[in-house]
């Protein structure tokens, strides 16, 4: 199934109208709930889970931009999430190991630190790589495929294959990547005990603020001329080309931005959850996030974020209440939402506005 098969809402013409304050007001309300209410109400364990959902929401935001706005159905965001996560994980492992080797290398029989790992000792380099590596991979991939006018289902399959290949690569190189186990058992996060409640609290605020900043950035991008162009590419790529724009460039830039978001999310996920493993970046988690975006509403950035948080909560809640049957409930929720509201939750509540 491709995004272009469905009829997306028509991009409204840029009519000059009085500034609508409802959006910013809602954003401010959500920010207050996220930054003030939740940290007061939730106990550390639940706050940690919320931080995890918010890292997923960052990935979802990128998917919302690439898929919802740009029509690029990317089924391999896990790859970029993983690249960011491994960059962070490698730094934390080296930091914990001090002069020695990371624990998994010891039991995998690696005797000297692989050259690939050495520069990740430097925190600045590691953080730079969180952004640079996913961005560069997406840019390269985008440049190659969009210029060849690969789109729709072919692009979706390509990204999915990339996710599958990445998992095989990581699992096979046990001495270099920790294999199936991935990287876990971190102690220190930039001088703090990573498991301490205060660190986890700080991490929650970091994740929430990063999400907020990226959301505002994506929102501005969507409202800009570039955003209009992106919508136009989604709705009629050939027409955009005839008008003299290069759709490949627009798509490559957007895909790269979404990849960078996934990379940042992966890097934040590692200290929050305490593990990065191939299981987190394969086909299934990548699909789960696309499903979450569909549930929330892919045509609105807020829908992507809402979907990711909601599906995260639903997964935890269902699995705690009904450990034997929660998957059925999760599936039923997806079918119910998509059945009743093909444009997701946001689309469901918004229809009145659009019609008016």
């Amino acid at each position: 199934m491709t995004a272009t098969l469905e009829k997306p809402p028509v991009a409204e013409a840029p009519v000059k109208e009085p500034r609508d304050w409802r959006g910013p007001a809602l954003f401010a309300l959500v920010a207050v709930i996220g930054l003030v209410v939740m940290p007061l109400v939730l106990e550390p364990f639940r706050l940690g889970l919320l931080a995890k959902y918010l890292t997923y929401a960052i990935v979802a935001l990128g998917i919302g931009l690439a898929w919802g706005q740009g029509g690029m159905l990317t089924l391999g965001q896990g790859v970029f999430f993983g690249l960011g996560g491994y960059a962070m994980g490698m730094h934390l492992k080296l930091n914990d190991a001090g002069d020695g080797l990371p624990d998994f290398m010891v039991w995998s029989g690696v005797e000297t630190l692989p050259a690939l790992w050495e520069p990740f000792r430097n925190p600045v380099f590691a953080i730079a790589m969180v952004v640079v590596v996913p961005g560069a991979v997406a840019w390269l991939l985008g440049t190659l495929v969009f210029r060849q006018r690969v789109r729709g289902a072919y692009f979706a399959i390509l990204t999915q294959a990339l996710a599958a290949a990445m998992v095989i690569l990581l699992v096979g190189q046990q001495g270099l990547t920790g294999g199936t186990n991935g990287l876990t058992n971190f102690f220190e996060f930039f001088g703090r005990d990573v498991a301490a409640d205060s660190t986890q609290r700080g991490l929650y605020f970091t994740v929430a603020i990063v999400l907020g900043v990226l959301f505002v950035g994506a929102w501005q991008l969507q409202r800009s001329r570039f955003g209009r162009l992106l919508l136009a590419v989604r709705d009629g790529e050939d027409r955009v080309r005839f008008l003299g724009y290069n759709p490949a460039t627009v798509k490559t830039i957007t895909f790269t931005i979404s990849a960078v978001m996934a990379g940042i999310a992966g890097a934040l996920f590692v200290p929050v959850v305490g593990i990065i493993s191939p299981a987190l970046l394969g086909v299934v988690p990548s699909l789960e996030l696309v499903v979450a975006v569909a549930v929330g509403g892919r045509f609105a950035l807020a829908g992507a974020v809402l979907g990711a948080v909601l599906m995260g909560y639903a997964k935890t809640y269902f699995s705690e209440e009904l450990p034997d049957a929660w998957l059925y409930l999760q599936g039923a929720l997806f079918i119910l939402v998509i059945g009743l509201a093909p444009k997701g939750i946001i689309g469901f509540f918004r229809r009145k506005d659009v019609a008016a």
Binding site: V41, V171, N181, T184, A279, S319
Partner: protein
Amino acid sequence: MRNAFLRTAVGAGLVLVLAACGGDPTESTTGGGAAAGGDTIKVGLLHSLSGTMAISEVTVRDAELLAIEEINAAGGVLGKKLEPVVEDGASDWPTFAEKANKLISQDKVATVFGGWTSASRKAMLPVFERHKALLWYPVQYEGLESSPYIFYTGATTNQQIIPGLDYLKEQGKTKIFLVGSDYVFPRTANKIIKAYAAANGMTILGEEYTPLGHTEYSTLTNKVVQAKPDAVFNTLNGDSNVAFFKQLKSAGVTAESMPVLSVSVAEEEVTGIGVDNIVGHPVAWNYYQTTENAANTKFVAAFKAKYGDAKVTSDPMEAGYNAVYLWAEAVKKAGTTEVEAVKKASGGIALERPEGLVTIDGETQHMYKTARIGIIQPDGLIKEVWNSGEPIKPDPYLKSYPWAGSLAS
């Protein structure tokens, strides 16, 4: 608006779900602290109930529930009944970490019995160490680990893999081919096997890995057959065994011409593989359903009575079943469920279990276990043909084996 009602209904439903999530912690805190007071002692059971590992892990969970039921029927522990809190690890390692955290910090369980794959254990290890809580891990594994907050009730390498190699050597099988799934246990096991082979005059003709869940084995089988090994050492896991053994059979390999020694195929898996495909091949474990002693007769009968006559019992199930009894014994000895006291009391505890005498080694928190080699019978059960005679002292880092010097740090 035609859909106004629907819209309200869905909205209300979502609010309810979120409200219920928010309400959950309070519900748990009222039940929490049961380990310290109250009429019951909460214990966590954390296995994959969904995903690829569910087929194996559900049986371990069932065995643990049976043990809890039996202990409760006999009066419980410290005068209190055990109350199991079951969670699903979903064959996903970060989920294991999350659920372990939930059991410890929300449910305040006294201990957790859980895990199967090495990856799930590695993911849970930091959670238990940071919270200073206890995990009982019931499956044979690759060794090279000894966490102060984990008790390992399955075999470590010197109680399964090395006896398996000793057996092959005794049988005069010196040319070995290694086949395994691509993850930590097979890769580490094969490293140990190669070191053993080098020191014992055995040759390794080849080493092949396939991804977990792989089912296309014609190429690999050709490679194995062409290499003409005396025996194959098989560390494949799960479904892959079905395809591999079928392929071997159709390539004309018999248990007589080229025995395949498996370390991850137990009674439960034999049924899945199909007895015809695997009959006569050897396996290495510490327990079989056919192991003869009074404790096992009772265990097998109780398990069949609770879960049905067609059910079989296997080594990991027995190890999970033992874990509950061993923990309960340590709690009785300590007089409390407090973790440090239980750890201290556990050393030297010896119980007659279905596999024979099991003693907790206080230093490594592994068990003394008897190694047993068995041959798969036409009825799907496994008949023991060799055992180590006495329980082997656990040596997770293989410190007592000179040839293994380079393996551990």
